[in-house]
Symmetry: C2
Subunit: 219 residues, 2 copies
DNA sequence: GCGAACCGCTACTTTCGTCGGGGGTAGCCG
DNA sequence: CGGCTACCCCCGACGAAAGTAGCGGTTCGC
């Protein structure tokens, strides 16, 4: 499997450097370029053909939302992961409408960011927990609408059984113990863990456990 | 291996119940009794012969420090893990002088508490990170004194290489990648991970990774 | 020089994670 | 209605990764 190509777009040099450091810690991700505003981002995309663009919203010149919209219009364009300091409602909805595949805050833990990039590169969507909660509230009014439900479902959504296994993995339990506690065979536990790996974009249970903790599922 | 027997000493019913819940999640630990003050604790120890006593300091009647001192005087007495809300210097030093094997704050994450109980049952010592830092500061004045250094060393003390591996495990890296990044064979990585398991009282790398995060070693 | 601690390694056992598949339920459609 | 599709939950088997046990080599203080 060849590495996922990532372009970093942010007006602050320091932020770009920090993101680059984080991304470089992952062997399966490659930073192919940086840009300081939306216009530069479009040129950089044409030049470097990234799979994923990490996009800041607030930037001088062409802002991130405009750039995201333009990238979304491209045939075979990159996925866009919006990364911003504030989770204002306005930003979230406009970013998603502009075609972003994900929305994370800048205080997101590094590992979660890496997972988000992987998930998005795989064609799925990824939102920050607070953003997800807001989306749910937003959709709550017409929660009977099945299309919107399933759309939400594809974002994070673990099944009941998967959630139980997630917590158990987060406690550091081995599969055999999880099986005993949840009344299923070890083989089934493994199947659920595999699903969790796939859905979270992780490559092993350690990363899943850490995500569980960062999501506040455990003490 | 037979289960480690634990006695819970705290004047608040709710706290005792919470601790009991946490301890019961571990198959290798067994809560053999509870006590509401120091005097009850002594009687309960005589009756139930616990391996480890979880001891609150502030209690009506006989306080935790006094009880700890009395338990430490017993031949073949239990190890005492002091558990308190405040990490006042005074408490820490007096508790350790009284013969406590460990000192944790009540906001310690459950998993870390479990590890602390295991480590202490094994005859080692375990302090909360903030307490450790204070101890180091305390000893810093005469840091050339080797005896005190090694004494400190036996408490938490990971070697340089182990610390590097710990961080890598905390990132969720597989052993092969850790080996490449740190220039050692995968076999050596495993040896270091085994040492980490032993020193932290964990049974697998997931728990170690979580501890690394809770200790603030990673984002 | 001897013991203690650290680092590194090989060889072996145990646990993980993947692959493929069976059985059940619910919606969709001709 | 049957047949199709899409999940979800469950399982056995097998290669891959993790973890254990044990052994050389080095350094450093006694």
């Amino acid at each position: 499997m060849t590495a996922t190509r990532v372009l970093i777009v942010d007006d602050e040099q320091l932020v770009r450097a920090g993101l680059r450091m984080i991304l470089q810690s992952a062997a399966d991700l490659e930073v192919v370029g940086e840009a300081g505003d939306g216009a530069q981002a479009l040129r950089a995309v044409a030049e470097h053909r990234p799979d994923v663009v990490l996009m800041d919203i607030r930037m001088p010149g062409t802002d991130g939302l405009t750039a995201t919209r333009q990238l979304a219009d491209l045939a075979n364009g990159p996925k866009v992961l919006v990364l911003t300091t504030f989770d204002l409602d306005d930003y979230v909805f406009r970013a998603l409408q502009a075609g972003a595949s994900g929305f994370l805050l800048k205080d997101t833990p590094p590992l979660e960011l890496l997972n988000a990039v992987r998930v998005i590169a795989a064609g799925e969507a990824m939102l920050a927990p607070t953003v997800t909660r807001r989306l749910i509230t937003h959709y709550a009014a017409d929660s009977r609408d099945r299309r919107k439900q399933t759309a939400l479902h594809r974002l994070t959504a673990l099944t009941d059984r998967e959630s139980e296994v997630l917590v158990a993995v987060g406690r550091g339990w081995p599969n055999a113990q999880i099986g005993r506690e949840l009344y299923m065979s070890e083989a089934t536990v493994k199947a659920h863990v595999s699903k969790l790996l796939e859905k979270t974009g992780s490559t092993n249970r350690v990363q899943v456990a850490i995500l569980a903790h960062e999501a506040g599922l455990l003490g």
